[in-house]
Symmetry: C2
Subunit: 731 residues, 2 copies
Amino acid sequence: MPVAFAKNSDLGRTALAQPSTTPTKFSPGALADSFFWPKSIAFVGASPDHDTIRGKLLMFAVKNGFTGELYPVNPSHQEVDGFKSYPKVSAIGKPVDLAVVTIPAKLVVDTVEDCARVGVPNVMIIASGFAEEGGAAADMQDKLSEISRRTGMRIAGPNCQGYFNALGNVTATFSPVGDSLKDQQVFEAAPDRRVGVVSQSGGLGFALCSRGRAAGLSFSYVISSGNEVDLSAAHYLEYMIEDSQTDIVILLCEAIRDGERFKRAARRASELGKPIVVIKVGNSDAGARAAASHTASLTGSQTAYHAMFQRYGIIEAANLDEAVAITAVLATSPLPKGRRVGIVTGSGGGGAIASDTFTSFGLIVPELSEKVKALIRPLIPPHASPLNPVDITAQGGRTGPLIMRCMEILHESGEIDMVAIVLSTARETQVSAVAENIKAVVKAGTPVTAWTYTLPSLIGRKTMAEGGSTLFQDVRLCGLAYRKLADYAEYRANRLPEPEAPAERLKLDGLPASLSEHRVKALLAPYGISARDERLVRSAAEAADAAATLGFPVALKIQSPDVLHKTEVGGVVVNLVDANAVGSAYDAILGAVKRHKPSAVIEGMLVQKMAPKGHELVIGMVNDPTFGPIMMTGFGGVTVELFGDVAHRPAPLSVDDAKEMIRSLKSAKLLEGFRGAKPIDITPAAELIATLSQVAAANRDVIQEMEFNPVILHADGSGLTIADALIVLKR
Amino acid sequence: MPVAFAKNSDLGRTALAQPSTTPTKFSPGALADSFFWPKSIAFVGASPDHDTIRGKLLMFAVKNGFTGELYPVNPSHQEVDGFKSYPKVSAIGKPVDLAVVTIPAKLVVDTVEDCARVGVPNVMIIASGFAEEGGAAADMQDKLSEISRRTGMRIAGPNCQGYFNALGNVTATFSPVGDSLKDQQVFEAAPDRRVGVVSQSGGLGFALCSRGRAAGLSFSYVISSGNEVDLSAAHYLEYMIEDSQTDIVILLCEAIRDGERFKRAARRASELGKPIVVIKVGNSDAGARAAASHTASLTGSQTAYHAMFQRYGIIEAANLDEAVAITAVLATSPLPKGRRVGIVTGSGGGGAIASDTFTSFGLIVPELSEKVKALIRPLIPPHASPLNPVDITAQGGRTGPLIMRCMEILHESGEIDMVAIVLSTARETQVSAVAENIKAVVKAGTPVTAWTYTLPSLIGRKTMAEGGSTLFQDVRLCGLAYRKLADYAEYRANRLPEPEAPAERLKLDGLPASLSEHRVKALLAPYGISARDERLVRSAAEAADAAATLGFPVALKIQSPDVLHKTEVGGVVVNLVDANAVGSAYDAILGAVKRHKPSAVIEGMLVQKMAPKGHELVIGMVNDPTFGPIMMTGFGGVTVELFGDVAHRPAPLSVDDAKEMIRSLKSAKLLEGFRGAKPIDITPAAELIATLSQVAAANRDVIQEMEFNPVILHADGSGLTIADALIVLKR
């Protein structure tokens, strides 16, 4: 007898129980509706033993009210849980939209071939023992991949925990969460703003769902993607973004396999205004990448992820609690216009902690104007405070109407952008919040959340959910969620158009893998990368002549595809003041380089007029295998090395993007009139970054790394000098 | 009819229900036992209306099982809640150990005088409407203070929420927590490690208690200190630290009023090995202090608190959740020997998040040796991972024994210092942890905690508590608590003896309030502060002569008590290369200073040989009104200004303390062989900081600020040059 799935979640949605996506928007290879909305499911390996994974799948599907056809497939049984059992999928003799496979790994390939034979469009392999084991097991996974490519069948998993579709009451998972959902006491705060979950970890994906429900969230789909032999997290993300019944997606991932599909989905989410909250796990690989350039050592694969997330306004959460808190606030809040928080509190200490917390997250807790204070003062005791926090003081109960009135005054004042209520929920009989009042303020455009400094009561959770809002137990999560909400609102308000990469390609034929400075400048000259005040020479005499022409002092630098770190091998001498010095330096450099690497191909030396004084920047690019070229910039010296003050953005960038990137550095204050110095225009540096990013994007299949270090931004405003440059090609 | 208070907490403790402090250790003015252990309590203002604050106090005392005498005092009633009521305290005619006063503020002074007349030793004033209102109300608070000083009566509050003593079943608070404690379902994890709470916020103090109990903690005393007219947070802290039945104290404070008592209590806690966890609220006053020196602008009063906390190993928590998490781990864990965490998980994703989290808190998740991996490999499936995290993979239930065995192997390996178990508690019927196994490992010296990625189940909480351990829902709090535990263990292992301040006093008679560089150096010459290579001059000719004697290049600097910021008014010229330049600079400086401040007293100019190249440090001191002299150091330039890379420590410091202080700066890497440079010995700088800290401590009643900026630590290891110095006296 089917048990209604997650009663609290349904809310009449079963009437809508059909896919509501707009397939025209999908990119090639996108997931079909029959995957999440099957009319028939075969459970291959189904068993009457409900203590096993194989036994739970069918049981949960039934228990949670699947209304289509169910076919157990198991040659050892005539029937399972009252359903007729078949020896194999091809024996069913009726259409199967989805086959869920939970048999030993070594039997899986044959089963999948059997499914293919009868045209099953979707197979989900729960079974483990494939690529994660290596060896022969990995070969089996390759075989699955081959079947998918050959037949067009979509394969989810292997080694996954399945999915459920709360809209359609489709449960195809053995997660215990699938069993307990219906028992969970939930108070839905935003039933019309459904959350989808895409997780590369089954345990955590379903945990996000049960934790989210406890926080008042309602879900659409939850899927665990497993080894992703065919369908990947990006496919599921894309599906949910296009789905009109999914409003927010939580993505938990360790590695995105399909970077382009992910980018398309992220771009669509940004267009549609659907927030994506991401938990990126496995963040400890810093420096794992081999470093040909300084840039590469500062740009790990994690950096590429963070840069991508930032580009598309994807909101990062460090763990499950943060993800649920942020999603709860996103689901229940209008977007605020700024970062000002108004606090109403019944506890002075609670208000102070809330204020400290919001401030520590970069939010503003402004003092209210005299006008607003005058409105509040008559309402509160003489020893209470009408500042912000508005402290109505402990009054031994019945403070709800007063707190609500103060909330409304804050909302009406226009002096704050979000309201936080600080209250005690120590009693189960009453709470100092009134659902209708909160609902009205939220509807009128001001986000409201509450933090309880005591343990949260049921009545507190219920009242806040009825108000369409969130009750926090942890004030830090409240502060974090408001910060992320304000960031997201700012992202949406200031989205810059994503520049297109130019079509022109560099002519790189016949060049060595490492392009030294003179070659880089020659190559980029058409893009306006200047090579004035320098000359390539091939003898001491030529060097001295060139220096005399350019004007002293000069620098002299070896040019060789075999010498990437010139300074370390004595390949650079700076501040040469006359022809003699230049001649001796030429010989000294040549000797040093030959000692260091006798086989080095010497292209010559670059004579360069010393640049005017200025600020040294490093500008670089690393071509990430997943997301393509990632630009980097930072200031030279200790700020990069000691304080990690570098910024990363995915290429291509506009000049405005590049300016924002430079300004995001803490060290950018040095350019903005630090200690009374004259401000310096960053436009030349931003133009250079933008140009390089365009070149990197247009040539992403051939350029691996770029490093321009140092780039000297002249203190006198006369532009910049590129004092060294390196491009490493993919080979 | 008395209801047993907080049944789960008693555990036979009522047999011990008596004060167990060692009064001989107390400092003068310490709290007497009769305050927390009254044999009789008068509730002044007691009322039969249980909806009012006045009505709740007596009711809660009775409900929670107070066994001494109770006297309602209220002239409007013959009896309250079945107890005979008295018109005033002096009418009771029997000894009263504690009078709890909840009547309108304007009646309080007379009542307290009445109590004093009959020798009541302790009065606790719940009533509000005193200093927090200002004006006439503040005068009443002064009057209370006067009564206390005159009669020796101890006064708690006013404007507080009272206390309860869980050991003695004494409830003297109207907090709703006092009402709900007995109903709370608790699983005590460490009933023999009791927690005391001292809070300047009543609401938050009692919330810490109910939240702590939910996390498995057991309490001794919880008190809200209110306006602290006489008894302050430091008194209660001192009492609990000396109390043999209190093992850990949580302190929530906004401002410590009695800095010396606080320091004594903190020192005793450090001696006794009792952790103090502090929540310091009101952290947003940065820069509020008027800044005579650069040091002062970098040393707000918050900095002084943080420096004090660090000195005594006091553990900072940002909010209630952090405080409870840290305290729970402190209460249940042996001190680890290092920072290595071993993780056992049933979810790969859960292990990865835990690993990311621990790593982000500076803990180490080391890969296990081949030897240990070989022990684990046979126990887990072929696709599971014996690395760290040890991932046993999802196995559809019954994973408890395997997780426990892996925990034991990690403990026995000696390769980790703490164990974290990552599990699902999605089921209420079983959990993958076994109390006895956990208990044994904890007892054998390895901390164990668990993080559940699902919602926490009752059976999960109960099992972990029975194992004497903690179950976390938020992995961040688990990581934070382990980090703080490791910090505390390191503090205890490496505690440096606290240096005594020397007795010698500086002779400051007749000096101006601001001592310029030459005066500072003359004054500190007996301490070995060098003034070689410089001379005070009073004419251009003298300056030129002095420069010739010292050797060029030199710097020339105005010396005036009226010019604190010399550079800003043209009072300094550096790099003067010959006598002519010195002469002109003398005239130029004099002109500039006179233009800037015609009335400035000119003491002369300092001719100073230019220091060798080196690293610039700033060393300073601000005399904090609560905690006395706080030393500061940082590197010159952008690291202080842009990245806030400064360190603070309370004076006096030993040379070892000062070395640790310098090394705590991120910029200290510059001295440790940065980018292949020769390491520089920091001893001369540490000696200077230690000496100045001794001078500051010995003269704390007269010196307000010090600033030595810059101090040039010579790159060639030849010591340091003090290139500027300023002392500001208290006036």
